[in-house]
């Protein structure tokens, strides 16, 4: 849950990057860390990985400065994608205000995307949140791999399989090159702040 102090005009909210293992969640954060230096207000914390797999979480704090009279800070987190780290994902999701779901465009990862989206749905439900109510943005990552000759799913197929019911904003990306990373996080931040405005009326006219 966002930390909103209307007296001091401060907002701190939490956005979590979710998705199957190896889909590029940490790469998204690394790119944000390198490319949005002005907004980065602390070190990126990336603890204990096993052969560059996230075991626990990554963390990156951002400061957006003053938005409609409020000092806005955003904490970005990633969850471990491997199926076995379910309790860690639940823990990282606690208090979430917005979600970026990173889907892997590789054809061989089709089922893993769907399982991870279902896992997100279940974990949100355990916290009394609904996937179709929470600010959510979809990212179709690794689009660049098509040029390398790897079989990649058409965006239309991914939209149909992952976003047909949710109908949330979606972005093509190649996090390793930074493509689509900024658009994705910007859209998620906008949705999240709009949602918090609806709930807490924090913005000044």
């Amino acid at each position: 849950m966002a930390n909103i102090n209307l007296k001091d005009r401060r907002i701190e909210c939490k956005i979590v990057y979710y998705g199957p293992g190896r889909c590029g969640k940490t790469t998204n954060l690394q790119h944000i860390h390198n490319a949005f230096k002005k907004q980065v207000i602390g070190d990126m914390i990336s603890i204990d990985t096993q052969g560059d797999r996230t075991l626990f979480f990554d963390f990156l704090p951002l400061g957006l400065g003053k938005i409609r009279g409020c000092d806005v800070k955003i904490q970005l987190y990633t969850v471990p994608g491997q199926v076995k780290y379910s309790s860690t994902r639940q823990l990282v999701l606690r208090g979430v205000d917005g979600v970026v779901f990173v889907a892997d465009s590789l054809k061989v990862r089709r089922e893993k995307n769907m399982l991870s989206l279902r896992d997100l749905h279940e974990n949100l439900k355990k916290m009394g949140l609904w996937i179709n109510k929470i600010p959510l943005v979809m990212q179709y990552n690794k689009r660049d791999l098509e040029a390398e000759g790897l079989p990649v799913m058409p965006v239309e197929q991914m939209e149909k399989e992952l976003n047909r019911q949710l109908k949330v904003p979606s972005f093509n990306a190649s996090a390793v090159n930074g493509q689509g990373v900024g658009e994705t996080i910007n859209a998620c931040m906008k949705l999240t702040l709009r949602d918090l405005q609806r709930k807490f009326k924090w913005a000044q006219d």
């Binding site: 849950m1 190896r22 914390i45 603890i47 204990d48 096993q50 052969g51 560059d52 797999r53 075991l55 626990f56 963390f59 076995k84 780290y85 309790s87 860690t88 639940q90 823990l91 990282v92 606690r94 208090g95 590789l106 061989v108 990862r109 916290m127 009394g128 690794k142 791999l145 390398e148 000759g149 790897l150 079989p151």
Partner: protein, 303 residues
Amino acid sequence: MHSKPKLSSLFKEAELYRQQGLLNETLDQYRKIEKIIRKQAIGKNKETLLIKITADIEMVEKELNSFIESKEIPEVSEKVRELMRTMFSLDDPEVKGSSLMGEAIALAGFGQYEAAANAFERLLDFDHLRLDSAKKMLLYGLEFNGEKEVLLLLRKWETDARFTMEEINYLVKHLQYLLKTEKKRKNPDLPDIIEPESNVTENDLIDISDIRLRSPDVSGKESGVKLTVNFQHGIKLNIVVPQEQTEVAHALPAGKLIKGVVFSSNIGTFSGTIYVLLNRKIDFGPHIGDTSVNLKVIDISGR
């Protein structure tokens, strides 16, 4: 027979999966290639290719095994634990010791069982947190150390002066429930032996606003205790027992059948039997510290 360019593109694909860290997909691809090579007519390259693909498969299998066999969740340094504690601890500043409880739950959630168990152990000294800490030790102990270790823990508490006989009995029942749930989770085909059948169909039951428990061991008083229904789904009800009524929450352990319950609705009252499906302390959100209890209505009669 597969042409050379086809094989080389399959090799390239496998290599790219490997670079992506997708070891299972890499292995599948190498096995596909191996099959193709074996089907090929004898050629001068066949042996060389087979040697290469066998070596590749062995290497990926080795990598995969080391990943699978690695200790699932490694114990981390104190510095990292400190981070986990501060970033994910959910505590209630009003309750003494709850900060340590929040930290311990966060550590356990990250698989740091030893550190979490030490913190829970310290919390056993607090009268108001003892039962909750012990329940968490049973829950996480079962997950990380198994049934045998948890039974030893319970045996140790039986001679621990901090626990009353009543608390030990409650913990024994709680462990029985955890073991049944664990067994069910590991073997979902097992019939559910703990949940009795209901004689009530979903259509028979109108919206219930609150329930009154009359049983002396639940209410402790003749008039009974009234609990508001938080939500209802068919014959299943959820109530939130405020932390001020801890004794009521403790008297509703999962697996308990309670007769003589009075149900109130907007058209009148009726009595019946409920079965406690779940009793869980809420450790985050606006109801932190309260207990969420899921109930199933087993039978009803008029009044």
